[in-house]
């Protein structure tokens, strides 16, 4: 014989669970019907807190399909991770200019660069970056090589790079360049030489 109070408690708990499930289901349906207006992602300019420094970035040029080393002056922080992020944002600023040699979509951004042990860097791009990327073998590899070569030139101990999009793994950048594995920096360096020697 089940004591009455336990039967009541079970019924109450079950009712609560059902009620909560229905409430969550309704909330999700309401959210699906009225999606939040997405705030247009703004490109974040490098902060002006650090001293201006001259660095080498590798800029992609779509027209001849080349990668060219270019010196730019940008404010850089003292922290390694922040410096890496600022380097890539400096590079992205070139691509987001009006007469860009390798246009990227508006709102393209590098969320974060994580420098982890054993010479590994993890780049986290935003979805606007990949949505605005021109689809094509050469176009995509120019983007990837440009970012990795820029990082490895300024961070010599870098050996492997992984690219994520919004914190998640993705198969390709825009249908071609493989993002499922780690990039070997020495392989990218060899590719950068091929892309420069035209």
């Amino acid at each position: 014989m089940i004591p009455r109070q336990f039967a009541f408690a079970t019924v109450i708990l079950f009712s609560l669970a059902v009620g909560m499930s229905v409430y969550v289901w309704q909330l999700r349906r309401r959210e699906a019907l009225n999606p939040q207006p997405s705030v247009p992602a703004q490109h974040v300019s490098p902060p002006t807190v650090g001293p201006m420094e001259k660095v080498t970035v590798y800029v992609a040029y779509d027209d001849p399909g080349e990668l060219r080393a270019q010196s730019i002056s940008i404010p850089l922080s003292s922290g390694r991770q922040q410096r890496a992020e600022e380097l890539l944002r400096g590079l992205l600023n070139i691509y987001l200019e009006k007469n860009s040699p390798h246009p990227l979509g508006a709102g393209s951004e590098v969320h974060d660069v994580y420098l982890v042990n054993q010479g590994i860097a993890v780049l986290d791009l935003n979805s606007a970056f990949v949505n605005g990327q021109t689809s094509g073998v050469l176009a995509e590899e120019l983007t990837v090589a440009s970012m990795i070569q820029t990082l490895s030139t300024n961070i010599p101990e870098l050996m492997r790079v992984k690219i994520l999009v919004d914190g998640k793994e993705r198969e390709t950048l825009a249908g071609h360049s493989d993002l499922s594995g780690f990039y070997d920096v020495s392989e990218v360096e060899a590719l950068a030489k091929q892309l420069s020697a035209q």
Partner: protein, 287 residues
């Protein structure tokens, strides 16, 4: 003393009821909302190389030994014909990239990369056929194949050369790519790492790339050789190349024109024909 009336018995019954209620609630939630969305990759201080290791994304279902018939859609070709002598017929495997809902680059509102690659692949097959070279298409309709499926089918057929075809609006002429292997991969043991399966054939692929570039250059057509991080090149166990075709006039519609495709496929077929004696010499293919 009756067990049901003891204090301990009540506690056990109470716990059992609570457990049943919780299971019912969880089952209901699972039925209503399905599985939870995948969690993003751990933040940087928790990321270790093993957590996002490329080997973890290696397919277990698409090993090179898998027969094509097991994975291919109905429109897929069978494996290469095997002569009765035990020697294999020299086969060129042509892979028109993309297909189905995966259209590749939108070259212009009416020209999709998947259609250009298929048309060009068919012309190349025809051109190779007129030169007495056997070839197969990995995709001969608007079907979808994953990179793993493409690699598994190609590896099972064991062709002398695998060629993936792409098209783009950017640049001019043709680019011929070999694999750019990802970091890691241990191919020293009896098994081949899926992500770097191409490593054993990469020297062969580069040799074929050089020969093909030289042959196409003779026609005066702009051609360039590069490496590319492009799947499934790195998963292919035989010499493997990828081609990317761009218009020479700057007009994307040139890619869909029959004359342009015919000219490119003839130049490629001539180039591949020059590779055949060396491919035969390097492998055990039947003459």
């Amino acid at each position: 003393m009756h067990w049901n009336r003891t204090h301990q018995g009540r506690r056990i019954r109470c716990a059992a009821h609570l457990l049943v209620a919780a299971i019912l609630a969880l089952s209901l939630q699972w039925l209503l909302f399905g599985q939870a969305t995948p969690a993003p990759v751990a933040p940087p201080n928790q990321v270790s190389p093993t957590q996002v290791s490329p080997t973890q994304v290696s397919p277990t279902h698409a090993s090179p030994s898998l027969a094509p018939a097991n994975q291919a859609p109905a429109n897929q070709p069978p494996a290469a014909a095997q002569p009765a002598t035990g020697q294999r017929t020299l086969l060129i495997m042509i892979d028109p990239a993309h297909g189905g809902t995966e259209s590749g680059a939108v070259l212009n509102p009416v020209i999709l990369e998947k259609d250009v690659t298929l048309a060009l692949a068919r012309r190349l097959r025809q051109q190779l056929g007129t030169r007495g070279i056997q070839s197969q298409l990995l995709r001969d309709s608007d079907g979808i194949l994953s990179a793993d499926q493409r690699a598994a089918l190609a590896n099972a057929a064991q062709p002398a050369l695998y060629i993936s075809i792409h098209a783009t609006s950017q640049g001019s002429g043709m680019r011929i790519y070999t694999a750019m292997l990802p970091a890691g991969g241990d191919n020293s043991g009896p098994f081949v790492d899926w992500q770097t399966a191409q490593s054993a054939s990469l020297a062969h692929s580069r040799w074929a790339q050089g020969q093909l570039v030289a042959a196409v250059q003779k026609t005066g057509f702009p051609v360039r050789s590069l490496a590319a991080p492009l799947r499934p090149l790195n998963n292919i166990t035989v010499p493997a190349l990828a081609l990317e075709i761009a218009p020479t006039t700057g007009d994307v519609s040139q890619l869909a024109s029959a004359d342009y495709q015919q000219m490119i496929s003839a130049a490629l077929a001539n180039g591949i024909a020059t590779l055949i004696p060396s491919l035969r010499a390097k492998t055990e293919f039947a003459p």
